[in-house]
């Protein structure tokens, strides 16, 4: 019952949120991938990452005194996930240390932004860490991602 309420709520938010994200062509193919991602040079991450492409809702929970943010939520597209964190695409830049909540199909999760890379003026890839948010490390089975 509660899960149904959450799912309905998430779907309503996804319907009502403006589509502001622009996906550059070089990223579109990667959004269909599944399974573990290949390791990258200088990759300092502790856990394996898995492709995890889907829609979610971003809620900004804490920012800094001099950074102005509008209240509200935004649609994002998740890209990959690990036990330690997540990467997603957002239409705005986020700064290291900002705290966010992501509404994903399997529940709400808290993160701290670690990095941000621009792909397009309206497409930023955000890397966020779960451990710094003092949330439990992600249960990938809960998210439906293979281990």
């Amino acid at each position: 019952m509660l899960e149904e309420d959450y799912t309905n709520c998430l779907n309503k938010l996804l319907e009502n949120c403006e589509h502001q994200l622009v996906i550059p062509s070089q990223l579109r193919d990667s959004l269909a991938k599944r399974g573990p991602t290949p390791p990258a040079p200088n990759d300092l991450r502790k856990f394996v990452r898995y492709h995890f492409n889907g829609l979610g809702i971003l809620e900004l929970s804490e920012t800094f005194p001099s950074i102005h943010r509008e209240n509200g939520v935004a649609r994002v597209i998740t890209r990959n996930v690990s036990r330690g964190g997540i990467a997603f695409l957002h239409s705005e830049q986020l700064f290291p240390g900002e705290r966010v909540t992501l509404w994903l199909p399997s529940g709400k999760f808290n993160y701290v932004v670690v990095r941000c890379t621009a792909h397009h003026p309206r497409c930023y890839e955000i890397g966020a860490d779960a451990s710094q948010a003092e949330a439990t490390l992600l249960d990938l089975d809960q998210l439906g991602v293979g281990s």
């Binding site: 200088n42 800094f64 001099s66 700064f95 290291p96 240390g97 941000c116 621009a118 003026p121």
Partner: protein, 321 residues
């Protein structure tokens, strides 16, 4: 009588920072060449007058020396007399600018050596006030200050120089409000604060960096942002000077890779003078480049990497100073 010590236990103090007619509670030493031993010039509690300083200057002496053991007393002396020198219009402009520069470098060096971000931030805010005051009071101050700058590879030297350059360029671009110039000066002094979290062996490596080492260095804008973001006394624009000064107009910069107008104008000002300062200063692995070569390099960068209008303005300031 205090003994003269080995070179590594003595620190140079610029004549510009010595206040004529004042008595210092530490002895001052002199040496005629790097190969000569240090000799006592003035014992502590003995006055150094205007004629003494003029005579030293006429003989080409730029520095006296203080024992490392007396460094704290010298720092206190600087704090006590800095304002007097800065506002003494009877002293040559270059001496007052020299005093400003020595005071800024010395204060920043102390803060950076302690690795204390809060101390560095507080120092930067105080120093910005003095910097803007000197540069704004007199059009000749730009040229006088440029003549007394150091060009070594220390982060505190670089931060001081970039701060002066940012204020000069901002004024050249038409920013004249003193509170805005002070904010720019503060942001510029802090722009490389993130290097406090970079291992010194990488910062001072006397050879080209490896790819891994370069990747570590590239973290410093983000590290600086993390150190400063929670502060309520810094503005968004100042934070962006720290975070975005390595971004480039065509998106090839770091840490985010944003383009053009998404880079804050103050960060664009900082980017221009940051590159100029880095090229014209000595590094552990190369000497500073001459003006002609530096201009050629930055002429190629203008428009694609750095703001062309700002670069042209900076060139004009340097050429006419």
């Amino acid at each position: 009588m205090p003994a003269a010590s080995a070179a590594d236990s003595m620190i140079p103090v610029s004549l510009a920072t010595l206040c004529p007619g004042e008595i210092a509670d530490f002895p001052l030493f002199i040496r005629s060449s790097p190969h000569e031993p240090f000799r006592l010039y003035r014992d502590k509690n003995v006055e150094l007058d205007r004629e003494d300083l003029a005579r030293l200057s006429a003989h080409g002496v730029e520095n006296l020396y203080v024992s490392l053991d007396d460094h704290q007393q010298y720092q206190q002396y600087l704090r006590d007399h800095f304002q007097d020198i800065l506002h003494d219009r009877s002293l040559p402009g270059e001496q007052r600018c020299g005093c400003l520069n020595e005071f800024v470098r010395s204060t920043l060096a102390d803060a950076f050596a302690r690795g204390d971000a809060k101390q560095a931030i507080d120092a930067a805010q105080d120093l910005a006030l003095q910097t803007v005051s000197v540069i704004s009071q007199d059009d000749a101050a730009t040229g006088q200050l440029l003549n007394v700058l150091h060009h070594d590879f220390h982060t505190f030297t670089h931060s001081a120089n970039v701060s002066y350059y940012c204020v000069m360029l901002a004024r050249g671009l038409g920013i004249r409000a003193e509170d805005e110039l002070r904010e720019i000066a503060t942001g510029a002094m802090l722009h490389d604060l993130g290097k406090l979290n970079i291992p010194e062996k990488i910062l001072k490596k006397p050879a080209r960096l490896s790819d891994d080492e370069a990747a570590v260095i590239k973290r410093h804008p983000t590290e600086g942002f993390r150190l400063l973001a929670a502060r309520e006394d810094l503005t968004y624009a100042q934070l962006m000077m720290v975070y975005q000064h390595h971004e480039r107009l065509d998106g090839t910069g770091y840490p985010v890779g944003i383009v053009g107008e998404h880079i804050h104008p103050w960060a664009q000002i900082c980017a221009v003078v940051d590159i100029y300062e880095a090229l014209t200063s000595n590094r552990p692995y190369r000497r500073g480049l001459d003006r002609k070569t530096t201009f050629e390099i930055l002429d190629r960068e203008a428009g694609s990497h750095i703001n062309a209008e700002m670069w042209e303005c900076w060139k004009k300031i340097i050429q006419t100073a």
